[in-house]
């Protein structure tokens, strides 16, 4: 009986431990919403024909709802802030456990980063991923020197110091999540025209590191093994600069591997992007207006080149589209 009572007490403390872990962890519901994007996917329908992977250049610039409305494409953006190429690979691997899309679109901007950038960015991508082999792999591949996998397994070890920084959000979203995107697209209606772009600096080397190629090869192989068409893109952001030397390397890689590559900056006029009105941060990301234009253009491009179904009329998507239109009014 004594052992039983002690066991009950231990169980209560484990529950308290879990409660405080949840309370102290960031909710990413109304602030730093980028941290909620990866996990929103788990609650979505898994019938996408196009899946985007990559950094902010995908989640800010491509609106699946526009693509659905224009061409009937069911798409999802599994993007996250500063998503590094190995993170894109493991997120793709995880996605393929749920569904096999016809097309995977990878934004190659992350080819320039060969090392983890910061713990904060890692957290935004990884924190709310479901536990799986991919999560363990993504943690091991992404950790900065000062991080430890234990901080991910037991988030309270990392977030306990938030005890005096808790806000209403932490209590309101203690037991629920908030979806902040429309199929992975984060809407931003603000306008900040391009004014002064940073100086384009010369680099010591423009050669992408081996580790980036290794993961690009893995993405390519994963797609081929699953019969998926891989499409490489470079979103039309004005900075950080996408150097010609970068472009050439990706173009060569695409040719060698028989993969399509679209540097969408070359299509800015055709798309109709006006950088004095279509960006919310002076050229780094497109705003709702810009993203709508780009999504229309890209949806048409995909529809013309890949065997995608026109899914217009799908009740779930029609409802989502209605909600989307209501939201962006």
């Amino acid at each position: 009986m004594r052992k039983f009572r002690i066991l009950i007490i231990i169980v209560i403390f484990i529950l308290l431990f879990l409660f405080f872990t949840r309370l102290l962890s960031p909710k990413y519901a109304t602030s730093l919403v980028e941290g909620s994007m990866i996990s929103q996917y788990y609650n979505e329908s898994k019938d996408h024909e196009v899946v985007f992977i990559g950094d902010c250049e995908v989640y800010a610039n491509f609106s699946p709802m526009v693509m659905y409305e224009e061409e009937g494409i069911k798409a999802y953006v599994r993007g996250s802030s500063q998503q590094l190429i190995w993170q894109s690979y493991y997120i793709l691997e995880e996605t393929l456990k749920y569904e096999i899309p016809k097309v995977v679109v990878f934004n190659v901007n992350s080819m320039r980063y060969s090392e983890p950038v910061s713990e904060e960015y890692n957290r935004l991508t990884i924190d709310y991923m479901k536990w799986s082999k991919q999560k363990v792999d993504i943690i091991n591949a992404s950790m900065t020197e000062e991080e430890s996998i234990w901080y991910y397994i037991f988030p309270i070890l990392r977030y306990h110091s938030r005890y005096d920084k808790l806000t209403e959000e932490d209590f309101e979203y203690l037991f629920k999540r908030k979806d902040n995107t429309f199929n992975g697209f984060l809407v931003n209606k603000n306008v900040k025209p391009v004014e002064n772009l940073p100086v384009q600096r010369k680099l010591a080397t423009y050669q992408f590191e081996d580790i980036c190629y290794d993961y690009l090869n893995k993405i390519t192989k994963l797609c081929k093994d699953n019969g998926i068409e891989l499409v490489l893109i470079k979103a039309p952001s004005l900075y950080p600069y996408w150097y010609d030397e970068y472009d050439e390397q990706i173009r060569n890689y695409a040719e060698e591997n028989d993969i399509a590559f679209y540097n969408l900056k070359n299509n800015v006029e055709e798309i109709g992007i006006d950088y004095s009105a279509d960006t919310y941060d002076g050229g780094l990301h497109l705003n709702l207006n810009g993203a709508t234009k780009l999504s229309k253009f890209f949806a048409k491009l995909l529809k013309e080149n890949y065997n995608l179904t026109d899914c217009r009329g799908d009740s779930l998507y029609e409802q989502k589209l209605e909600e989307y239109k209501e939201f962006i009014k």
Partner: protein, 419 residues
């Protein structure tokens, strides 16, 4: 069990730097074989030379700090050297027979719980416990966990916060006057919480293994004089110094003057044991021990307050390790009147309001516990396992939530593991 204990001890010790094993094994082997000849013809020469070799290593490691070799200084060398000396002296004096088995002696020295920050154990006491048939009992485990949890609160909740203040103030010499006074008072709490917290963890782990190590603290800040303080603070070091320095020098047996000289020498040795920068600290402590008793009043509270303030001032040598700076900072308390400025800047010393409140609450709990230990401890020990489980759970949650740890915090960094 002892074989396992020794293997774990060696592996853990090696994990902090396998090179350290050479030094510690050298000391163990030389001492073990030397002790076997401490009753023979050349016993005095063997005693002096063996102590000399071990002291030479200690001095070389501690007093020649900025060489490549100093990086290899084995952890816990100050502690195990004192244990070795006490063992040699006791065998020499015939207090007990030399150990026959190298394994037992190695385990005594390498016993990991006490190797890094003490307490400084005596061989005869440890041998009885190490060689006794021990059982791991639920009572020992729960008592050990209680003690560990309390130690963790001291280390991570209290000392974690005080260390931030100390680091901010000591890192900028413009923080003098009121800031220096605050640093000294906070450091009193910091060192006590850090060191006694570490000792609680050590004693707790040991308790779980069925071994009761000697207590190292007895509510030191309730002392009414510096002399009393040294009977309550770092007890294992104080008693070691008394037995192996003060008494061999003659103790109080040769008149008042010699007694005072012996005291001064003993405290100078104590300062030296901490490092060359602490000699002045040792001498000043010696002076306060020599004359402090004469100034005691009838008021316990007043005596305790004065003792606490003196001790806090003396910790200045630990905060600003350059002795001249420490003296200047002590002086600035009386010459720089920036007390109003401190009030305005209190939240710029590294702690938020919430942190200050947490620090204040747990410091009060710490002192309240110390003041009522005699009542609380027996109740705790006799309480049901369910009650102990609840207390352990609460304390672990407190440490997890309110502890200062994580990225940028070195969990191995106990202040007294440096000495």
């Amino acid at each position: 069990m002892n074989v396992l204990l020794l293997i774990v001890s060696i592996l853990l010790y090696a994990s902090f730097g396998w090179q350290s094993l050479f030094y510690v094994f050298f000391s163990i082997i030389t001492t073990f074989f030397a002790a076997k000849h401490l009753q023979g013809k050349y016993k005095k020469a063997i005693l002096i030379s063996t102590i000399g070799i071990n002291l030479a290593i200690l001095v070389f490691m501690k007093f020649i700090p900025y060489t490549e070799l100093s990086i290899l200084a084995p952890l816990g060398i100050s502690y195990y050297t004192l244990q070795i000396i006490s063992y040699l002296v006791d065998v020499y004096k015939g207090k007990y027979e030399p150990e026959e088995k190298l394994f037992n002696f190695t385990l005594f020295i390498m016993y990991i719980p006490h190797l890094f920050i003490g307490p400084i154990s005596r061989y005869d006491d440890m041998k009885k416990q190490l060689l006794a048939k021990r059982k791991i009992t639920s009572n020992n485990i729960f008592d050990g966990l209680l003690r560990i949890s309390w130690g963790l609160i001291k280390k991570f909740v209290i000392a974690g916060r005080t260390a931030i203040i100390i680091s901010t103030i000591s890192g900028n010499l413009e923080y003098n006057g009121a800031y220096a006074l605050l640093a000294m008072i906070i450091y009193s709490i910091n060192l006590y919480a850090d060191f006694s917290g570490g000792i609680d963890i050590v004693l707790g782990v040991s308790k779980m293994l069925g071994i009761d190590l000697v207590e190292n603290f007895n509510s030191p800040y309730y002392s009414e004089s510096i002399k009393e303080f040294w009977r309550r603070w770092h007890i294992s070091l104080s008693s070691w110094l008394k037995d192996y320095v003060y008494i061999p020098l003659g103790g109080n047996r040769k008149g008042a003057l010699r007694k005072n000289i012996n005291l001064l020498i003993t405290f100078t040795v104590s300062g030296l044991w901490h490092g060359v920068n602490y000699i002045t600290w040792g001498i000043l402590n010696g002076i306060f021990v020599m004359f402090g008793e004469k100034f005691k009043t009838k008021s316990k509270i007043f005596n305790r307050l004065v003792t606490f303030i003196i001790i806090s001032f003396l910790w200045a040598f630990f905060i600003w390790q350059d002795q001249l700076t420490a003296l200047k900072m002590m002086g600035s308390v009386f010459t720089t009147f920036n007390y109003a400025d401190l009030g305005a800047q209190i939240l710029n010393l590294g702690l938020s309001i919430a942190d200050w409140i947490v620090l204040a609450v747990f410091t009060i709990i710490l002192f309240a516990f110390d003041g009522n230990k005699e009542k609380i401890l027996p109740k705790l020990q006799n309480s049901k396992l369910e009650v102990k489980t609840i207390l352990i759970g609460i304390m672990i949650l407190i440490v997890l939530i309110l502890g200062i740890y994580g990225i940028g915090f070195d969990v191995n960094n106990f202040i007294y593991s440096k000495f």
